[in-house]
């Protein structure tokens, strides 16, 4: 690593200052940021939302959002100050010397164009005289380079026909088209499952090692940094808090903020193997067909829950798609007053279970009993008995609140809808509830955009609580939040459930979070239960290969 540092830097950022010029004056977004990126180096910029890390990435690419200006400092690449270049030369750099990878693989590609055509147009834009056949050959070679299976056939695929990981590979291939020397990767793996994330990081690492590329890696995820970054810049509120080599920084963080950031990351415990007979009967040795503990102390009993997709839709008319199972024979016992975790990768059906149990979607089951009373899940609506009794907290608090309602309006609506009698004490009841959840009276009359992510999620929890549920379902409630906020919300959820005598189903892809909060865990894969047991069993003793695979996919430093 020291040899890399000794070379002259490829890119040098000195005292970079970026301000946003709005109607109410200019606000600094990034202040006096300096760092350098050497050849063949991976530099991580880490920070929570609002730290200005993405804005730095945009400045390097030369695509600052409207209203944002560079007012000071310089970005030099090979000694040339980029801000002195005119628009045309700047564009020539983009896709050429400086390529970029964005976070959201679902929207980085034009949905109406084949991936081959999108790769091809990039290649053609960089070398316009290339014959078509040659463009195609290069595109196929690039697809092969990033590990797309059957690249020649995939060339004609549209983005929606690829998996998330494959799409992100295509994005990387596109970035490689101009043989760049720097890739600016803005949260390249945040939208991907842990196992896919690992593959993508491996691809990026391979590029650095083979081609001597440099990567400016912008992320909020310490795990990603730990996996591939050589050096780290920690940012907070637009300024650099601390920088240094990754190993040193993780071992021995100097700044309090870095230390908090590191300690807030949920960590997986795997050592304390407890040999008590605390396993639900039949769960071990018989994965996939797991039987559950007796229904005595279960508030919610689910037997053989299944859901098919493509049932009546026109998909089947054309015979292009056979009916598939979104869920198949799922058996769940939610212990009264307990927390059941459902983990799995995207597409495993974990969210579908939550939505069916909340009465938002239909399904089929041999038996669904809430408090010993049978519920009907074959149609949506109030009659089934689940809706209202089961409340949900969704992943993205920003999109689950109506932007035109204030907090009190949104909560009143919910109290009214579920009130047994029309009492006018709703405001005081709401105030009491949100105070318990760590908000203040003053927040009542604010609109969602005036609240932070964590505050919005608190409002969502309040909304679920005010409906007076027996069961709370939290579907990835912290995935859209910063790590430090994530920890707060998790402990809040835990307390709330205990205080109000609720039971909770906690759906997440993050094993560490699940281990932290859940008594029992159910591992889903392709719509089936793959593994089921107490938290200690799943994380300590389960020999199910899929469970092990999920646990192993986590970055090593976060397993203690």
């Amino acid at each position: 690593m020291t040899t890399k540092d000794e070379k002259a830097p490829l890119m040098e950022v000195r005292d970079l200052t970026l301000v946003h010029r709005g109607s109410s004056g200019s606000t600094p977004i990034v202040r006096d940021v300096s760092f350098s990126l050497g050849y063949g180096q991976v530099l991580g910029i880490i920070g929570e939302s609002g730290a200005g890390k993405s804005t730095i990435g945009n400045a390097v690419i030369g695509l600052l959002a409207p209203g944002i200006e560079q007012t000071g400092g310089s970005i030099r690449m090979n000694g040339i100050a980029l801000e002195t270049l005119d628009a045309e030369r700047r564009r020539a750099l983009r896709g050429g010397a400086i390529a970029s990878i964005f976070q959201d693989h679902t929207s980085s590609l034009d949905p109406l164009m084949t991936i081959g055509a999108q790769l091809g147009e990039t290649i053609a834009a960089l070398s316009p005289d290339l014959p078509r056949a040659e463009v195609r050959k290069r595109a196929v070679a690039l697809l092969e380079r990033v590990g797309i299976p059957e690249p020649a056939r995939r060339y004609n695929s549209y983005p929606h026909q690829l998996s998330g990981g494959q799409r992100q590979r295509v994005v990387i291939a596109t970035a490689l088209a101009g043989s760049p020397s720097i890739i600016v990767a803005d949260e390249p793996t945040s939208a991907l499952d842990a196992t896919v994330q690992k593959q993508i990081l491996r691809v990026l690492k391979g590029l650095v090692e083979e081609k001597g590329l440099s990567i400016l890696l912008i992320t909020h995820d310490m795990g990603v940094i730990a996996e591939i970054a050589d050096r780290v810049v920690v940012m907070k509120n637009g300024a650099v808090v601390e920088q240094g080599s990754t190993a040193a920084l993780l071992e021995n963080p100097q700044d309090v903020y870095t230390r908090n950031l590191l300690s807030a990351v949920p960590k997986l415990r795997r050592s304390n193997v407890d040999v008590r007979a605390d396993t639900p009967a039949g769960a071990d040795g018989n994965p996939g067909q797991a039987e559950c503990r007796p229904a005595r102390d279960a508030i919610l009993v689910v037997d053989n829950l299944s859901k098919t997709f493509g049932g009546k839709s026109i998909l089947r008319m054309f015979g292009t798609e056979k009916p598939g199972f979104a869920l198949r024979d799922v058996n769940i016992r939610l212990p009264r007053g307990g927390v059941l975790g459902i983990v799995g990768e995207s597409g495993s059906g974990k969210s579908t279970i939550g939505r069916i149990l909340a009465g938002l979607e239909t399904g089929n089951a041999d038996k669904i009993e809430l408090n010993g009373k049978a519920c009907d899940i074959t149609y949506r609506g109030r009659g089934g008995g689940l809706l209202g009794q089961v409340q949900m907290v969704f992943q993205d608090p920003s999109s689950s609140l109506n932007p035109r309602l204030t907090v009190v309006e949104a909560l009143t609506e919910c109290v009214r809808a579920t009130a047994r009698s029309g009492d006018d004490r709703s405001r005081s009841r709401i105030a009491k509830t949100i105070e318990r959840l760590g908000l203040q009276q003053a927040h009542l009359d604010r609109y969602p955009h005036q609240l932070s992510g964590g505050q919005k999620q608190r409002v969502c929890i309040a909304r679920a609580l005010l409906a007076g549920p027996q069961i709370m379902i939290a579907d990835e409630p912290t995935s859209a939040l910063d790590v430090s906020v994530q920890a707060e919300i998790l402990s809040l959820l835990k307390e709330t459930v205990a205080e109000n005598d609720l039971s909770m189903i906690f759906i997440s892809h993050d094993l560490a979070v699940v281990q932290d909060i859940c008594d029992e865990v159910c591992v889903m894969r392709n719509g089936r239960i793959e593994d089921y047991g107490t938290s200690d069993f799943i994380f300590g003793r389960s020999e199910n290969p899929y469970t092990r695979h999920l646990i192993d996919a986590r970055p090593k430093i976060f397993t203690r």
């Binding site: 390529a99 970029s100 109406l112 549209y158 929606h160 101009g178």
Partner: protein
């Protein structure tokens, strides 16, 4: 098998539409008045003449029986004979078709091209003077009533400047058994004003649609990614933005084209353009039931066919529709 199901579904839909339209048309015309008085010469006809004419046309029968007779005739492919022109009704409609098609086709082509162009122009520069101009002008163009717009066009384009004729089709050329105006210079001149009258509101409509779509697509991540790939603005605009905004535009173009083919009666009347719309309004006034029924049937078929074409275009334009539906 699946395709068969789709087609049969469409045909069933068309059939239902036809039944409903024919019922409405039948009852509607019946309740307006007795067509006999438009057919016989009121001044010379004796009560006996009128009675004979009534019997001859079957108008003495109860309405439901008249409808059954109409359906029976329809089964043999006949809409009956026009009371006024004494020509087979459907042939009469078809004879007006060329005038309507050339008018509507020119109008929609101009509207689609100009509207999309203006929308892209405005949508890529949101908040600028150009954008605000487009937004404001299109509101006016949309809110102006069709007859007023037509009369202003006559006033400026014909009366004051004398550049264009104010009505009629001008000289026509016979092609495929139909008369066409656009093949002669004189006919083209006659086309200009009515085409503008039909196109202007649609330019505005499509421009607003295209602008909204463009603003949205320009913000999309893939456009930013295209910029980051080093593509030129022009390339992004035509290869990425345009296809992505085209779906709603295609829908509106299809609907509006159908509307022009069937219901351009205001413009056709003002410019004395002998098209289907004018035929329909004239026939309704004269209570010429066979012609009204034939026109309505034509309208229904047109709309069903255009909808099918729009759906097909969806599949061509959007691979997600193509593969999953």
């Amino acid at each position: 098998m699946a395709l068969f199901k789709v087609i049969s579904g469409r045909l069933y839909q068309a059939f239902l539409l036809l039944v409903v339209m024919s019922l409405i048309g039948f009852v509607g015309i019946h309740s307006v008045g007795n067509p006999v008085y438009n057919i016989v010469n009121i001044e010379t006809a004796t009560p006996d003449d009128i009675r004979r004419a009534t019997e001859l046309l079957g108008l003495d029968q109860p309405l439901w029986r008249q409808y059954l007779v109409f359906v029976q005739n329809l089964a043999t492919g006949s809409f009956g004979t026009s009371y006024i022109y004494h020509l087979p009704a459907f042939e009469l409609v078809l004879s007006k078709l060329s005038a309507t098609i050339e008018l509507a086709a020119f109008a929609i082509l101009i509207a689609a091209a100009a509207g999309t162009g203006l929308g892209l122009l405005a949508g890529t520069r949101p908040g600028t003077l150009v954008d605000r101009m487009v937004v404001i002008v299109t509101v006016y163009a949309l809110s102006v009533p069709s007859f007023w717009l037509s009369m202003m066009l006559v006033l400026f384009g014909a009366v004051m400047t004398g550049w264009f004729p104010s009505g009629g089709r001008g000289s026509t050329v016979d092609l495929f058994g139909w008369e066409w105006s656009f093949l002669t210079a004189d006919g083209l001149k006659h086309l200009v004003l009515p085409v503008l009258a039909l196109a202007i509101p649609n330019i505005a409509l499509i421009a607003r649609l295209a602008r909204a779509g463009t603003v949205e697509v320009q913000r999309a991540d893939f456009v930013r990614f295209c910029l980051a790939k080093g593509l030129s603005d022009r390339h992004i605009l035509f290869r990425h933005t345009l296809p992505n905004i085209s779906l709603p535009i295609v829908t509106i173009v299809g609907l509006q084209f159908g509307g022009m083919l069937a219901f351009a009666m205001v413009v056709e009347s003002i410019f004395a353009w002998p098209g289907v719309g004018k035929l329909l309004i004239d026939s309704i006034q004269l209570l010429d039931r066979p012609v009204v029924m034939a026109t309505l049937t034509f309208v229904a078929i047109t709309f069903v066919a255009l909808n099918a074409i729009v759906d097909l275009l969806y599949a061509v334009l959007d691979p997600r529709v193509r593969i999953s539906a």
